[in-house]
């Protein structure tokens, strides 16, 4: 499809959600403790390096989305749940970090294991 000036306003207004209207069972529930898989793909991923191998807690289930690691390469949407996952600053950065502060990252089912 050719991107023309005429379709720009509609494109901007509508956007393109990556949500997928598929019924997929979540692998985790709010409150579950998880460990992030130590994945190091050379291809596209939305898993930041600094949370790999770290323990977190599922804060919120955002629903089902296309999985970027496959979708970006034309390997299918592989729909799965995406969660807000909470980490303590100390879990990520060690004892010198604030004991009160936290970080939340949005992570897919395939990035995590139960802990």
């Amino acid at each position: 499809m050719l991107l023309t000036p005429e379709i720009v306003p509609g494109l901007v207004a509508a956007g393109a959600s990556a949500r997928v209207a598929a019924s997929v069972a979540p692998r985790f529930r709010v409150g579950d403790r998880v460990i992030v898989r130590n994945l190091n793909p050379t291809t596209h991923t939305r898993l930041p390096r600094y949370v790999r191998g770290r323990f977190g807690v599922i804060e919120k289930d955002y629903g089902v989305f296309a999985f970027p690691d496959t979708h970006a390469h034309g390997l299918g949407e592989k729909p799965q749940h995406c969660y807000s996952v909470r980490f303590t600053a100390r879990e990520l950065w060690g004892p010198a970090a604030s004991e009160r502060d936290t970080l939340l990252a949005d992570l897919f089912d395939d990035y995590m294991d139960p802990a």
Partner: protein, 197 residues
């Protein structure tokens, strides 16, 4: 080693990409002009400021905003590209929220427009996750030790807007006057709003 495009001047890279996309018949360059014009002149942080001001004066709207950010923001007419799935984070005395995208530059376009250069810079993205209070200090912001600093890394499809605390001394102001007080940085979480003089 060959010179990769990433090492070249960004303006040159953009020009090359535009030429290739045009030659391949994927874009009409005028469409890019229309996109740039939209985000430079029509969509920007004043949209987000209206959302914030309404939440301050309308408790029912605030509740809807925190429950379903996408729908509540759309009530004011702001939706679409890079705002498809919105989450609103309320700053309180207990929690100070701030937003980053460590992987690239994800940002809520319909409410804040395009991200500032520093938001896209490697130093902000790398440092804010490991030392949020240090980064806040560079923005002139000190959050009490008794308040939790909560950093949200925009790693997937959700886009985050911070609902800053309403400044003290603003009880008599109209929604419009309140909106004028709301800064872009306060809606990213790297700014706080000073009490009205």
């Amino acid at each position: 080693m060959p010179t990769h495009a990433k090492e070249a001047d960004p303006a040159l890279r953009v020009k090359v990409l535009e030429s290739i996309l045009t030659e391949k018949g994927l874009i009409d360059p005028k469409a890019l002009d229309a996109l740039v014009d939209t985000f430079e002149h029509k969509i920007g942080p004043r949209n987000g400021a209206r959302v914030v001001a309404k939440a301050w004066v309308d408790p029912a709207y605030r509740q809807r905003l925190l429950t379903d950010g996408t729908a509540a923001i759309k009530e004011l007419g702001y939706s679409g590209l890079q705002g498809e799935d919105m989450v609103v984070l309320e700053n309180t005395d207990e929690v100070h929220n701030m937003v980053v995208c460590t992987l690239c530059s994800c940002y809520p376009w319909p409410t804040l427009g395009l991200p500032p250069v520093w938001y896209k810079s490697a130093p902000y993205r790398a440092r804010v996750v490991a030392d949020p209070r240090g980064v806040l200090a560079e923005f002139g912001v000190t959050i009490p030790e008794t308040t939790e600093v909560r950093v949200w890394d925009t790693t997937a499809e959700l886009r985050y807007l911070v609902l800053p605390k309403r400044p003290e001394g603003t009880d008599g102001l109209s929604e419009e006057q309140l909106a004028a007080l709301v800064t872009r940085d306060s809606m990213i979480g790297v700014g706080v709003l000073a009490a009205a003089a």
